[in-house]
């Protein structure tokens, strides 16, 4: 997915609230190349429902700046979180805790192309919710909802079931990957 496709995936950005991290000017140019005049609001201003909160988190960024701003997100408010780690190495525990702590649901997590240009390897679309928001499909560029206004019990049973089984079958793969990586390393001289 191109970085400029992300604002539409997040539901649009009539104005943006930069919540911290990265080079704000460069990233906004990459995100909104056709709309450089998009109004920017400060994180401590009252949040406009049509605004999109944006933050960058990466290896060299303190994790707490954006999460403080996140607590000001009202119910229904949307967040586009840009991540500066390669997908295969993504330490998602660093962002999952603050998101859940602020009452946000991860709606979509997508890989981003051309990270060498802007340093964004993947992105998360999240929203502050009071009840579960409709689920979305992976890599769907015009997000479709899988259920009604909120996931029903069958969808939640399916979701937790898939998570549990995937958690099981990924374990031998992680072990195999560790073995392969260990095999790639040169034997120590000692």
């Amino acid at each position: 997915m191109l970085i400029k496709e992300l604002p539409a995936l997040a539901g649009g950005a009539d104005s943006v609230v930069w919540a911290g991290g990265g080079n704000q000017d460069e990233l906004l140019r990459a995100l909104l190349p056709m709309r450089p005049e998009t109004p920017r609001r400060a994180a401590d201003e009252p949040f406009d429902p049509d605004a999109l909160m944006i933050a960058f988190v990466g290896p060299d960024q303190p994790p707490d700046g954006w999460s403080a701003a996140l607590r000001g997100l009202p119910a229904g408010g949307r967040l586009l979180l840009l991540l500066g780690w390669p997908v295969a190495d993504l330490p998602y525990h660093l962002v999952l805790d603050p998101l859940v702590g602020a009452g946000c649901q991860v709606l979509q997590a997508v890989p981003v192309d051309k990270a060498n240009r802007h340093g964004v390897y993947c992105a998360v679309i999240a929203a502050r919710v009071e009840r579960l928001a409709p689920l979305r499909s992976y890599l769907d560029d015009s997000p479709i909802t899988l259920d009604g206004p909120e996931p029903g019990l069958p969808a939640l049973l399916r979701l937790t079931g898939e998570h549990t089984f995937a958690d099981l079958v990924v374990r031998p793969l992680r072990r195999r990957l560790a073995e392969l990586e260990a095999g790639d390393r040169p034997a120590s001289a000692g």
């Binding site: 997915m1 390669p86 997908v87 295969a88 997508v110 890989p111 192309d113 993947c122 689920l135 979305r136 499909s137 992976y138 890599l139 769907d140 560029d141 479709i144 899988l146 259920d147 069958p154 969808a155 399916r158 979701l159 898939e162 079958v169």
Partner: protein, 212 residues
């Protein structure tokens, strides 16, 4: 006209894949190779619309091409960056598919017999189910393919859009809405629509279902 038995049908497909040209063998026998190329591309474009226009080399979509034959759709979808498993019952077709390479993994399996530790973002079954002549095996196949679709994933199966089922010749049984819709609703899938090939006089199109 009596329908082919399972053994006769398997022999028919092996022989057809052995004797016919690359596209015609798994495509439309009434068309020459050039017309079949148009037919394949038309169906590929429809698949693109229904699977989506995004891909990622680092976190790809996982697709199952059920009844892949010589693997044309599998290879093209793999060229889009997707991770594709192709399954087919014909060893002759799979030998050809493996020789072509191109990224997909090919396995010999019936549609009802494929087992996987992973679910798929999309399971496609292009012009295969109406060649399963036995109704019980057809139902086992549809149920198994549906079970392989992850939450939010899609099942795309080709057949006609009439209400009823009807046999044509001795190796085709077209099945209609009355067969697909209740069965797949029972499997937890939502019917999204039927998309006709709109190719010459073809009455076939893709049923699209989403795992909800």
């Amino acid at each position: 006209m009596a329908l082919l038995s399972d053994v006769e049908a398997a022999a028919y497909w092996n022989e057809r894949h052995q004797q016919e040209s690359d596209l015609r063998s798994g495509g439309h026998m009434a068309f020459d190779e050039a017309t079949n190329r148009m037919f394949y591309i038309r169906r590929l474009a429809l698949l693109m619309d229904l699977i989506g226009l995004q891909s990622s080399p680092v976190a790809p979509l996982f697709l199952l091409d059920a009844g892949c034959g010589k693997g044309w759709f599998s290879r093209e979808l793999a060229r889009f960056g997707h991770q594709v498993d192709g399954i087919d019952a014909s060893e002759v077709a799979l030998d050809h598919a493996r020789q072509e390479g191109g990224g997909p993994r090919f396995h010999r399996s019936s549609l009802s017999g494929w087992r996987s530790p992973w679910l798929y973002d999309a399971v496609i079954c292009v012009d295969v189910l109406f060649h399963i002549l036995d109704d019980a095996e057809w139902e086992r196949s549809v149920r198994n393919l549906a079970s392989l679709v992850r939450l939010g994933g899609r099942l795309l199966v080709a057949d006609w859009h009439e209400e009823h089922d009807q046999a044509f010749g001795n190796y085709q049984v077209l099945r209609g809405r009355r067969s697909y819709l209740p069965l797949l609703q029972d499997c937890g899938l939502r019917f999204e629509g039927w998309h006709p090939y709109d190719f010459r006089a073809s009455v076939i199109g893709l049923y699209a279902f989403t795992r909800r």
